[in-house]
């Protein structure tokens, strides 16, 4: 059995805004083992980024973790002081954000920023840290890194900045890397390079990755396990094979069905999921997917139970009870 690196139990995060309590994450549980690449997928607003930030104790105000427990290597970290968190962040858990510009200092040279981070986390001297920075930039596919370290963030394209962020995160050799949509804003060719880079990283180290994305292609290509979120909850969880070949939840099935087919010759009509995601200011008490689900029935007005299909595969839907399935299919 692989070592349990992270476990999240019944995580709830709300934003207390003028309009009311926005229940962004409403009871999420999952785990990540050493060496795994876990994909977290779902529509925008489903709570992926809020979950990721909560894992790093970086929930911005007016947000608050209102319930739950997060364990890292078996130790609860939910109630650690800021000082203790600073030791974990970067060293053991590192994060790459959706928008790389906000995370880089615009008036400091790239090399200087990287050297600072590397020295802080790895205790290397200036010269060693600089050559490490150059080496990491080379590894993320930045050409002429010796010259590039003397440039400022605005002299890098969006894709290059994102690679710098990844290089910085990796240079600290974290045990868990949380990457929030690291390639969403990039061209597919550059996305492919970064995904390959993450793949190579797995071959050389035991770093676990939590990869947040809404691109099912990315998930299929790089993840070992998948968590499907909707309306602030986990709808389904399983290995990539479970999710892509044996999806159980109507939302997961809907997502997969909405992708265009790859065969040529004829044009098949796309099959969207009708409707729009729920409003989390006043979320429905039952299944979050109820309004859009083609199988919705009366029972769905109550929160469904979680059903285990196999030790790796579980989903949250009343259809698992079996009774109605015959009728709706």
């Amino acid at each position: 059995m692989a070592e349990r690196l992270l476990s999240v139990e019944n995580l709830k995060v709300s934003f207390f805004t003028a309009g009311g309590e926005n229940q962004a994450v409403r009871g999420v549980s999952f785990h990540i083992d050493a060496g795994e690449t876990v994909g977290i997928v779902g529509e925008s607003g489903s709570g992926k980024s809020v979950t990721a930030k909560a894992l790093m104790a970086l929930t911005p105000p007016p947000g608050k973790m209102v319930a739950g427990d997060i364990k890292f290597r078996g130790e609860s970290v939910s109630r650690l002081s800021d000082k203790d968190w600073r030791k974990i962040r970067g060293n053991q858990i590192a994060m790459v954000f959706q928008d790389p510009m906000t995370a880089l200092n615009p008036v400091q040279k790239i090399g200087k920023q990287m050297v600072e981070v590397i020295r802080r986390h790895r205790g290397l001297n200036q010269t060693a840290a600089l050559s490490e920075a150059i080496e990491m930039l080379r590894q993320v596919g930045i050409t002429e890194p010796e010259r590039r370290v003397n440039q400022y963030p605005h002299e890098f394209s969006g894709g290059m900045r994102q690679r710098v962020m990844i290089a910085m995160a990796l240079s600290c050799q974290p045990e868990l890397l949380i990457a929030d949509e690291p390639t969403t804003a990039l061209d597919v060719t550059i996305q492919a390079q970064i995904l390959e880079l993450l793949g190579r990283l797995k071959e050389r180290s035991n770093t676990s990755i939590a990869l947040i994305t809404h691109d099912l292609g990315v998930v299929a290509q790089v993840c070992t396990r998948v968590i499907v979120m909707y309306g602030g909850m986990v709808m389904e969880e399983g290995t990539v094979e479970d999710i892509f070949y044996r999806p159980k939840h109507p939302y997961t099935k809907g997502l997969l069905r909405s992708l265009p087919k790859r065969e040529s010759g004829f044009k098949e009509r796309l099959v969207p999921i009708e409707g729009t995601p729920p409003n989390l200011l006043d979320p429905p008490p039952g299944c979050p997917f109820m309004e859009r689900c083609p199988h919705a029935m009366e029972t769905c007005a109550a929160l469904p139970k979680v059903t285990e299909v196999s030790p790796s595969h579980r989903y949250m839907c009343w259809l698992a009870e079996g009774a109605e399935e015959a009728r709706v299919q």
């Binding site: 290509q221 992708l259 010759g265 044009k267 969207p272 729009t276």
Partner: protein, 299 residues
């Protein structure tokens, strides 16, 4: 699909250069060749897809077709008329016939206008129906794009991204265009909602006989919606072919690199990725027809 034979848009050697630097006398010292000699044709009723890396000039081509930019050189013929030769007054009817939908459904709608005003705005510009008659027309258009009559007096912030994109589409269609430039209309939308919007664009196309230029990053959606596709690189077209032909038989190394980068949503399909880097200083030659309808820019 029906045969598309009648030529609607004919772009001939289009160039759009931006000035990057000037010397102390105000003379141009540095130009950015955003679009540097692009030619293609779109037939009536057809969807022409445009793909390529960020900064390759796709949106600039779209903006030139809309005459949001004056081009540096080249010609755009629309329904037999050379638009490049027309002044603003003569252009006005074409500004009605050629409409656009942009990527960002958040910033492209004025937040202070309600739906009726938003959709009515282009109708005002072109002096179309007013009053009750307009209200009825807009309400029917809303229903046509999957929204409701109740939404007439709501404001953009009350809608989701997908719904806002429907409002943008209704706005573009309100003046009965025959050609719509769609610049990444689904990029900001969720996967499940993208399919809703694509289906709707297809339905509207067959109902109103629309012609589309469809600019996109998502290569699988582009293949789905387009009859033919052009691949741009560095301000030039490197390949143009019918959609299936382009995906099944790509010829230009950049097209191959692009297609092989698409992550396949199937864990057991591993695509062999090919890379391509253009030799510094090399010139991209003109397109040459290698088989019927398949053009490539290779020596």
């Amino acid at each position: 699909m029906s045969e598309h034979n009648e030529l609607l848009v004919d772009v001939r050697n289009l160039k759009k250069h931006f000035t990057k630097g000037r010397d102390v006398w105000g003379r141009t010292t540095d130009v950015l060749k955003a679009v540097d000699g692009v030619s293609f044709q779109i037939k009536r009723g057809e969807t022409f897809g445009l793909v390529g890396e960020s900064g390759s000039g796709k949106s600039t081509v779209g903006r030139c077709l809309l005459r949001l930019y004056d081009y540096t050189s080249g010609e755009v013929h629309y329904d037999g008329h050379d638009l490049s030769a027309l002044g603003e007054r003569e252009l006005k009817p074409y500004r009605r016939r050629i409409q656009s939908i942009f990527q960002d459904p958040y910033s492209s709608l004025n937040p202070g206008m309600n739906v009726l005003e938003l959709i009515g705005e282009p109708m005002d510009i072109h002096g179309l129906q007013r009053g009750e008659e307009r209200k009825e027309f807009v309400a029917s258009l809303l229903e046509r794009v999957g929204l409701k009559r109740e939404h007439l007096y709501r404001f953009p912030h009350e809608f989701s991204g997908g719904q806002r994109q429907r409002i943008s589409i209704a706005r573009a269609l309100s003046v009965r265009p025959d050609f719509v430039v769609c610049d990444e209309p689904i990029s900001a939308l969720d996967v499940s909602v993208q399919a809703q919007v694509i289906n709707m664009l297809e339905d509207l196309q067959s109902e109103f006989g629309l012609t589309y230029l469809f600019i996109a990053h998502d290569l699988s959606m582009v293949r789905h919606i387009s009859d033919r596709i052009g691949v741009m690189y560095g301000g030039r077209l490197v390949e143009v072919a019918p959609s299936d032909e382009l995906y099944d038989n790509p010829l230009h190394p950049y097209t191959k690199a692009l297609l092989s980068s698409i992550p396949v949503p199937d864990p057991h399909v591993v695509s062999e990725r090919v890379e391509w880097v253009r030799e510094p200083g090399s010139v991209i030659p003109d397109l040459r027809e290698v088989s019927p309808g398949h053009f490539v820019a290779m020596e």
